[in-house]
């Protein structure tokens, strides 16, 4: 048998054993599946009620509003926020109208407004705009007021839709870091790695089997959580499932490789746990999983760029919410690919059997 076939046979033997171990460890398997489901269910429940009672309207040229517009802007219980009279900003705000994150966008000077034809709140706020000071409903028309109507359409993007890509990515991160890093340290501590070192297998065969096993498991669990959650929560998925699969696979590879670096030489599970937490907690909070980093300090945004979770979350969100194609998220994909290669190289370089 030639070297390559023998090497592949050893790789498969290790892969198969690791997979069996994972699937038979019921508590670990259940937790891997249950945790993201519980988080999603919790958020779904928490945001099932429409907690925002006000209408939300974006206003362009607020300071130079026409008298009709001013009358509308003077109303109570509507949240008016300013939008810069910039093409990109207006486009961004229109996008929010599409996603039901804003009920209306109004250009107060041009008396032009954008409304989502599928939004009930948009419908109501339009009626308010057109009915101001006019008790006779027959005069609720555009010509009378001189407002120009622009319509957009799009399904509502709820917080749960926004947060789910992050939750899936975060669950992947924990599984990648702890599932590989922690396990390798445990094997090293209890002498399993030392025993394997005494066989003809190479470090590369061993590590690649661990990585392949974990990627398979992560993808399987993530797919299960994705479709299971989708069935109950019906979150938005506007992009290609295959593209999302690729993003998650690349993200998993990158984060598993990061786990390999952490686990390369450590022999204490306590130290490994501490180090893994040191990496995972900042990633969990500062990678845009729970809240957008758009308004965050530039320094924080720069730090977040280092984290693989930032790129997986952003790419997954772009696919799921915006229906982005791979070319649209190529920046994130390149970063993840580079990180995977660098982390994997460093992990293999520093790896010690005992």
């Amino acid at each position: 048998m030639n070297n390559f076939l023998m090497s592949f046979k050893r790789f498969l033997a290790l892969l198969s054993t690791r997979n069996k171990e994972f699937f038979r460890d019921r508590s670990s398997l259940s937790w891997n599946i249950l945790m993201p489901v519980l988080i999603v269910a919790g958020f779904s429940f928490a945001f099932s009620d429409d907690i925002g009672k006000q209408f939300k309207v974006g206003v362009v040229n607020k300071l130079s509003a026409t008298p009709q517009s001013k009358q509308f802007l003077g109303l109570k219980h509507i949240d008016f926020y300013s939008v810069a009279a910039d093409e990109e900003e207006i486009k961004y705000a229109v996008n929010k109208v599409q996603r039901h994150q804003v009920d209306m966008l109004l250009d107060a000077t041009k008396q032009q407004y954008w409304i989502n034809t599928e939004s009930p709140k948009g419908y109501l706020v339009e009626k308010i705009l057109l009915g101001l000071g006019r008790p006779d409903s027959k005069h609720l028309d555009l010509k009378y007021h001189g407002f120009k109507k622009q319509t957009v359409s799009g399904k509502q993007i709820r917080y749960i839709d926004w947060v789910i890509p992050g939750i899936l990515s975060m669950n992947m991160m924990f599984s990648a870091l702890f599932g590989v890093g922690f396990v390798i340290v445990r094997y090293r501590k209890n002498g399993m790695l030392k025993r394997l070192k005494a066989t003809p297998i190479t470090a590369l065969e061993y590590l690649s089997a661990q990585v392949a096993s974990r990627i398979m498991l992560i993808m399987l669990v993530t797919a299960f959580v994705f479709y299971g959650t989708h069935f109950f929560v019906d979150f938005v998925m506007n992009g290609s499932h295959i593209n999302l699969f690729l993003v998650f696979a690349l993200g998993a590879l990158s984060m598993i490789s990061l786990g390999l670096i952490i686990a390369a030489r450590i022999t204490s599970e306590e130290t490994a746990g501490g180090l893994l937490n040191l990496f995972s907690w900042p990633m969990m909070f500062f990678s845009g999983v729970w809240f957008s980093l758009e308004g965050a300090a530039p320094a924080m945004q720069n730090i977040a760029e280092i984290f693989p979770l930032t790129h997986v979350t952003a790419a997954a969100r772009a696919i799921m919410i915006d229906g982005a194609e791979l070319v649209d998220i190529s920046y994130h994909l390149i970063v993840l690919l580079v990180q995977s290669v660098v982390f994997m190289f460093l992990g293999a370089w520093f790896f010690k059997w005992d």
């Binding site: 171990e21 209890n190 399993m192 030392k194 005494a198 066989t199």
Partner: protein, 294 residues
């Protein structure tokens, strides 16, 4: 022509604070069982780990079949470490199958399973094995690749006497096949029973080497008489070389007749007298001055 399976030349391993192995030379012919003995901290585990290819030497040379340790050695060596964890949630059969696939050739697993008396536990999770079952599985793992050289590092530590005897039988069977075995143990009776040749290490050096019988003959020409301490109360023992041991007094002498004559003269009852030859325990104490710890 290769005369020695394993040649160890001036092996040295220095750690920053200690010289663990300090110039060891061993020539190991094919087909013998070689025992490496020594008190804790003597350097025998470091030595055996270097021989196994697990640890690197600071200097020196190890030749296996005339070549430096490498791929061929890893394919042809079977190793049973002192402590090895087995993968959780995997059965005994799956463990053997996994290790079998790591080697280019392997023995018939069913034969191996029978031989190591694992049939009854073959579908059992590794976590559920008793100490003896576990040791037999680890031995089976060491034999899975039909090795030419087998390292057994304290293989019977923690086993009950019956399990130890069973294990010895297994090792004797392996020996009978002409395999070369390197054994470390704290049990001197084990070394005496199994080993064709032993080396006693202390402070990183081999302080004695040879067959157990030859080493005993070289070192001792006396015997030990044992009597209950209570029966010797009246006797002035200053004439003898004695040692107290668990309620017995051991008298070391070159002339048994002379000692017995004195005892009779002093009206000491000889009904509980025992005479024993020197053992490897005595040799070990003589050479290292340390009691073996198990």
């Amino acid at each position: 022509m290769v005369t020695n399976l394993l040649q160890i030349k001036n092996l040295v391993k220095h750690y920053p604070s200690v010289k663990a192995v300090n110039g060891i030379n061993i020539n190991l012919p094919t087909g013998i069982c070689f025992g490496l003995l020594g008190p804790n901290g003597a350097g025998k585990t470091t030595t055996i780990e270097i021989l196994e290819g697990i640890n690197d030497a600071t200097s020196g040379e190890i030749l296996y079949k005339g070549k430096p340790l490498g791929d061929q050695f890893r394919k042809e060596a079977g190793i049973m470490f002192q402590t090895t964890a087995l993968q959780d949630y995997i059965t005994v059969r799956e463990t053997l199958e996994m290790f079998a696939k790591l080697y280019p050739k392997h023995v018939d697993l069913d034969v191996l399973i029978k031989r190591c008396d694992l049939t009854e536990y073959i579908e059992q999770d590794n976590r559920e094995l008793s100490g003896g079952q576990r040791q037999r599985l680890l031995l089976a793992v060491a034999l899975v690749n039909d090795p030419d050289i087998i390292f057994l590092d304290e293989p019977t530590t923690g086993l009950d006497p019956q399990a130890r005897r069973n294990f010895w039988n297994l090792i004797n069977d392996i020996k009978a096949e002409g395999k070369t075995i390197i054994l470390t143990t704290h049990y001197m009776d084990e070394a005496y029973t199994l080993c064709d040749e032993i080396a006693i290490m202390d402070h990183g050096k081999i302080i004695a080497q040879g067959t157990p019988k030859a080493l005993l003959e070289e070192t001792f020409n006396d015997v030990i008489l044992q009597l209950p301490e209570i029966e010797l109360n009246r006797l002035d023992l200053s004439f003898f070389t004695t040692q107290d041991r668990n309620g017995y007094v051991e008298i070391t002498t070159h002339d048994v007749n002379e000692v017995i004559a004195i005892l009779i003269e002093e009206n000491i009852s000889l009904s509980n007298l025992q005479i024993r030859p020197r053992t490897l325990d005595d040799l070990f104490l003589e050479l290292t001055g340390k009691e073996l710890r198990v």
